[in-house]
């Protein structure tokens, strides 16, 4: 009996000592560092995009830490990014979110790349109640799940297709005939549906609308059919490598159409580098471009200042994926500063009500958690350079039409 009592007392003593130590040491550690988990496709098919996003995160982290860190209520937090490579495999991204939260103990998360992976991983981060910034998801299907901790920085897909359809309609007389070729993947399909809607709304005739499988290496049959239908506008969706292949095969098969628009691809320099003169006059729309003229809060005071800082570090111009990586950090930083705390519910509430100007454009989230506060620019490759043709306030050229 005595032994038992002693044992219990000892246990209690040890437990309280341990609790005391933990109580003292944990806040001391947490006071210094904010950990952000970011699953990225650093290898595999999406590695070009994953690496770009990482460059954006890194630039923000370095800039913030160089200026001392994030200041919250008299305390300063340094930022530590914890990266995890999900090898372009979505199921792996979901597993890594679990690992980042339960093993690495991250305070916040940045979503994996693209709408599909973001949607899959969002269930895991929601489960833990970790505020998550989705840099590269634009499809409404990602944000209509009723989640409370997911915030998307890309405006919905129709903000890309609506101005494109307007511009084409203005430039081409008569009834415009459009052909749509889409990668069978969440974002490209959603975008194609919006292109279809935007076109039909303006009285255009959709003469071809088909999907191609992920990993398709040959588009010659689809392009032969499109050629025989002779549309005025070809709208292709997919990722950079798909776009390069489609554009090359168009040239090989002699498919010349007045307007060719491709999303995503032309916004990356790799597109023009791989295609050379074939990239000429390809039309595209994207969420950010170094030519935009926004100023705002955060570590980068304007789009120009951001582009300069980026060039200094990486010796190339930033594209929208780089920029949205840095915007994810900036947005989180501004929300933490606004919340005056790093507690997840407080930061979540701060994000919900955030209304702030940034180098990327004004950031405010709609009821589903998707940003709805800026106008994405439309651009066309002209003389090897992307020329902004919309919105009017920042445009540097007009839409050019190809001769048939």
């Amino acid at each position: 009996m005595t032994n038992n009592v002693t044992y219990t007392r000892r246990t209690l003593l040890a437990a309280s000592l341990l609790a005391g130590i933990t109580h003292c040491s944990l806040p001391a550690l947490a006071a210094d560092i904010i950990k952000i988990g970011a699953p990225l496709p650093l290898t595999g098919a999406l590695s070009p995009e994953g690496q770009k996003l990482q460059q954006g995160y890194d630039l923000w982290t370095e800039t913030v830490n160089a200026s001392g860190g994030i200041r919250v209520g008299g305390r300063t937090y340094k930022v530590e990014m914890i990266y995890a490579d999900y090898q372009s495999l979505t199921p792996r991204a979901v597993q890594l979110v679990d690992k980042l939260v339960s093993q690495d103990g991250v305070n916040f998360l940045f979503s994996p790349f693209g709408s599909g992976a973001t949607k899959a991983a969002s269930a895991a981060s929601e489960k833990y109640g970790i505020p998550t910034i989705a840099g590269t998801a634009s499809s409404a299907e990602v944000f209509d799940q009723g989640y409370k901790y997911l915030f998307g920085l890309f405006t919905p897909n129709e903000t890309l297709t609506e101005p494109l359809a307007d511009l084409v309609k203005q430039k081409l007389p008569g009834k415009v005939r459009i052909a749509i070729l889409s990668r069978n993947d969440l974002f490209p399909l959603a975008l194609s549906k919006d292109a279809d809607k935007s076109a039909q709304k303006r009285g255009m005739e959709v003469v071809y609308s088909e999907k191609y499988a992920i990993g398709t290496l040959d588009h010659s049959s689809a392009l032969a059919q499109i050629k025989s239908l002779n549309p005025d506008w070809l709208f292709v969706t997919g990722y950079t490598n798909d776009m390069i292949l489609v554009r090359k095969q168009m040239s090989e098969l002699g498919v010349n159409l007045p307007v060719v628009s491709m999303i995503i691809g032309p916004s990356y320099r790799e597109f023009s580098e791989a295609l050379g003169p074939l990239s000429e006059n390809v039309l595209s729309a994207t969420w950010w471009h170094p030519a935009v003229r926004y100023t705002g809060k955060g570590p980068f005071e304007s789009a120009q200042a951001y582009a300069e800082t980026f060039r200094k570090k990486y010796a190339v111009d930033p594209d929208y994926t780089n920029a949205v990586g840095s915007l994810a950090g900036t947005t989180l930083q501004l929300a933490i500063e606004k919340a005056g705390s790093i507690e997840s519910t407080k930061v979540r509430d701060a994000l919900t009500g955030l209304k702030v100007d940034t180098f990327f454009g004004p950031v405010a989230f709609g009821p589903t958690g998707q940003v709805n506060s800026y106008v994405p620019p439309v651009f066309q490759i002209q003389d090897k350079r992307p020329v902004v043709i919309y919105p009017a306030g920042i445009k540097t050229g007009d839409l050019k039409i190809n001769a048939r």
């Binding site: 595999g44 499988a213 290496l217 010659s220 049959s221 390069i244 090989e252 791989a274």
Partner: protein, 288 residues
């Protein structure tokens, strides 16, 4: 005009598919190994051609020689030192072995070359020819012609050379071949080496037709598999027939049912053929 274009696309693709599958079919037919590594070897050949062009300006068609040569040596050594150790084991063992080698090679290529897609763009290859209302891209047309030539060369090698006859003999009856004085292990290694060299040659050809990335090896392996089963295992003519059938089916299927169903139709055809004619369109026992 669309019909002519669809047929032309199918034929051009078909020749290339035949070349992709030739080495795979040979190794499967002679060694009874389902070589999962084949797609990765094709990509290695494509990378050799890519760097030969980028560093030394060597045209991919010329780069077929170093690509096939290097892979021949690598294939011989691999078979002699690794695969021959388990050559008499069940198919599952060799399948697992080549699957493991495939993972290693793919990841090594990702580490060495990155997962980015690349393509050899030779000046002037965007030209195309108009034949009977169909537009034929110059690079694909010449690639296909070369691919068919390589398959014909394989046919002649097997039919008219001493080593070719040894390979066919081992394929038909290993024990009888051994009794006749054929060095079976050496013949196995040579067969695998020729298979690897064919993969390297196919890779060099398609480096200027398709974008290449270490992540796409399974696509080529899948095509090789379908072509082999369609054409008939171990038959050289079958490889060409299977390739052209697959090319035509994919090409017509993409137009009739939409591009995303091109491969679905190919696999349906594969299942049908396995049910009705399991030996393939041209399959026969042994080489002629």
């Amino acid at each position: 005009m669309l019909v002519a274009q669809v047929i032309a696309n199918g034929l051009v693709l078909g020749g290339i598919y035949g070349c992709i599958a030739a080495g795979f079919s040979l190794v499967w037919g002679v060694l009874n190994i389902i070589n999962i590594l084949h797609g990765s070897l094709i990509l290695l050949g494509a990378y050799i051609a890519f760097f030969a062009y980028q560093l030394f300006g060597i045209h991919p068609f010329v780069a077929i020689i170093p690509a096939a040569g290097l892979l021949f040596v690598a294939g011989y050594l691999l078979q002699m030192t690794v695969i021959n150790r388990v050559i008499n084991a069940t198919v599952l063992v060799t399948l697992t072995l080549t699957f493991g080698l495939n993972l290693m090679l793919d990841n090594a290529m990702i580490a060495a070359f990155k997962a980015d897609f690349r393509k050899v763009t030779v000046d002037g290859t965007h030209s195309s020819y108009e034949i009977l209302g169909a537009t034929l891209p110059a690079d694909r047309l010449s690639g296909t012609a070369l691919a068919v030539l390589i398959v014909v060369a394989l046919y002649l090698l097997l039919k008219h050379t001493r080593i070719g006859r040894a390979i066919v003999a081992v394929r038909m009856d290993r024990d009888a071949a051994a009794l006749m004085g054929v060095n079976v292990l050496h013949t196995y290694a040579l067969t695998f080496a020729i298979g690897a060299a064919l993969a390297g040659a196919a890779g060099a050809i398609l480096s200027m037709i398709f974008p290449i990335s270490p992540t796409t090896s399974s696509i080529y392996l899948g095509k090789a598999f379908i072509v082999c089963v369609l054409g008939g295992l171990g038959s050289v003519q079958g490889v060409l027939v299977g390739g052209i059938v697959l090319g035509l089916v994919e090409s017509a299927g993409a137009v009739l049912l939409g591009p995303e169903h091109a491969l679905t139709i190919a696999f349906l055809l594969l299942i049908l053929l396995l049910l009705l004619r399991p030996q393939g369109l041209m399959g026969r026992k042994g080489y002629q």
